[in-house]
Amino acid sequence: MTDVSRNTPMDHSSFEALFKQHFAHLCNFSKQYVQDENTAKDIVQKVFIKLWESRAQIDLNQNIQSYLFTSVKNRSLNYIRDNQKYRSRVLDLDCGEIDLMAETDQSGVQELQAKISQALASLPEKCRLVFEMSRFKEMKYREIAEELDISQKTVEAHMSKAMKTLRVELKDHLYALAVLIGWII
């Protein structure tokens, strides 16, 4: 697909680069509100479509990252409002708005990812497996228990151990980032 560039501030390839750079983080950001990954992906896709449609009005010098996060946030909030999907207003909204990307630069993210990998690798095999099934594959405790032929109590214990380890490993980042919460209006 090529773009007939008519003095538009954003061409097709820079749009693609923008998409690839931010898509995953935006999905992660949206998921704190909408919970399921497919909904989050749909929301982020729609935001990019909108951005593409209005690219003539968008100044690339402006903070496009902040535009994207604000749009994703608004759409996510609209979604949960319209669908009454938030499970808890207190836990999803009042304690929401965590934007990891706004808080770390690219090198910080890599450092963070290395730390996370390290922390996960340090876990006993079963524990890491359970955590990854829950966190990355969005499997329910019941499903994990069935798949690994263990009890739900054991699943809970593994999850608890994994999260405790991560908290310890990531605590420096948590403090460093805390001051920056809520920069998106």
Binding site: M1, D42, S88, V90, D94, C95, I116, R135, F136, R167
Partner: protein, 332 residues
């Protein structure tokens, strides 16, 4: 905030909530803990952050190129968008809907009224038509289809007691000496004089109370909320959670006026309002449709014509499957 302060059981609740394994009761428990103290809230936010950070590594699992391909399909170089992959749906006759509707309207109104000699007890019941009724105390109640109420004055005359099944709109005549108390499923609704709607349909997941004017107290097994005009309470029948919020439903009173108003309303809410009004069983087959916005006003329309207009406006397919009416379509 001391990091080690989170009790073990709360930690497990947090993980369970964030990973989508919490039931309503557990969610409420966690809400209470988080709301109890600013330190608790900070602890939860920090924990949630750890949870979100952990997924930074999962991003490599996401197929960004595939996502980009998806998006590329829906944008063109002219800046116009084309709709995302349309879904084909099998086209079956929906004449069954019309038939079901005829049966519904043909059904006779069944209404009975029984008085005790002092007119202190009355009972009303409806089938396929909504009905306005006046109670002995001067209050009015509009009963939706398939609903019933029984009104009685307590022995000493100090309380107006109402038992409700189904859904109804109440306009209660003010009498501060005799509270008006409605028992609706697990909910108890108490007012002095005000107008409000109660939805206690047996097959609904929630009992809802929406206040039009005045204030209303809603309670259930130890929980209690006081609602003002424009507010709504929702009692989850399974978990028992009782949550108050601002009301956004424009159509709770619509059965009394034969009118449905939608202003940029999502299809999901539209279907909820239609099902409530017509006691129909319409389902949306595809989650992509749920958010499609509709702006329309239906006055004195049959279910059949409401569906026909809906079909044309949102480009839907409608099919009758057993007792359900199923909506499918390409989305918006």
């Amino acid at each position: 905030m001391a990091r080690n302060d989170i009790p073990e059981e709360i930690l497990e609740l947090m993980i369970s909530y964030l990973s989508g394994n919490c039931g309503q009761a557990e969610t409420t428990e966690l809400e209470h803990w988080v709301s109890a103290d600013a330190g608790h809230k900070a602890a939860f936010i920090s924990f949630k952050k750890t949870w979100m950070m952990a997924s930074l590594n999962a991003e490599s699992n996401m197929n960004i190129d595939q996502e980009w391909k998806e998006l590329s399909k829906s944008i063109t170089s002219e800046g116009k968008t084309v709709s995302l992959a349309p879904r084909k749906s099998s086209r079956r006759s929906w004449l069954g809907i019309a038939a079901a509707f005829l049966v519904l309207t043909a059904a006779s109104i069944w209404l009975y009224r029984s008085f005790d000699p002092s007119e202190n007890i009355v009972a009303y019941s409806t089938e396929s038509e909504a009905q306005n009724n006046q109670l002995p105390d001067g209050s009015t109640v509009s009963l939706n289809q398939f609903s019933s109420i029984r009104y009685s004055l307590s022995d000493k005359g100090t309380q107006r007691n109402v038992a409700l099944e189904g859904d109804a709109f109440f306009d209660v005549k003010r009498d501060e000496t005799k509270p008006f108390i409605i028992a609706a499923g697990k909910a108890t609704i108490e007012v002095l004089g005000t107008s409000f709607y109660v939805d206690a349909r047996k097959d609904a997941k929630h009992i809802e109370v929406i206040v039009k004017s005045g204030s209303v107290s809603v309670s259930s097994t130890g929980n209690k909320v006081i609602l003002k005009a424009g507010e709504k309470a929702r009692l989850n029948k399974t978990s028992g959670s009782l949550i108050a919020s601002e009301n956004t439903d424009l159509n709770y009173q619509s059965f009394t006026q034969q009118k449905l108003v939608f202003e940029n309303t999502t299809l999901k809410e539209v279907v909820f309002a239609i099902n409530r009004q017509y006691h129909s069983n319409i389902k949306i087959s595809d989650p992509n449709l749920e958010n499609c916005p509709l702006t329309a006003t239906y006055t004195n329309k049959s279910l059949e014509s409401v569906l026909a207009i809906l079909k044309a406006t949102l480009n839907l397919e409608i099919e009758q499957q057993d007792k359900e009416i199923v909506l499918t379509g390409v989305g918006c």
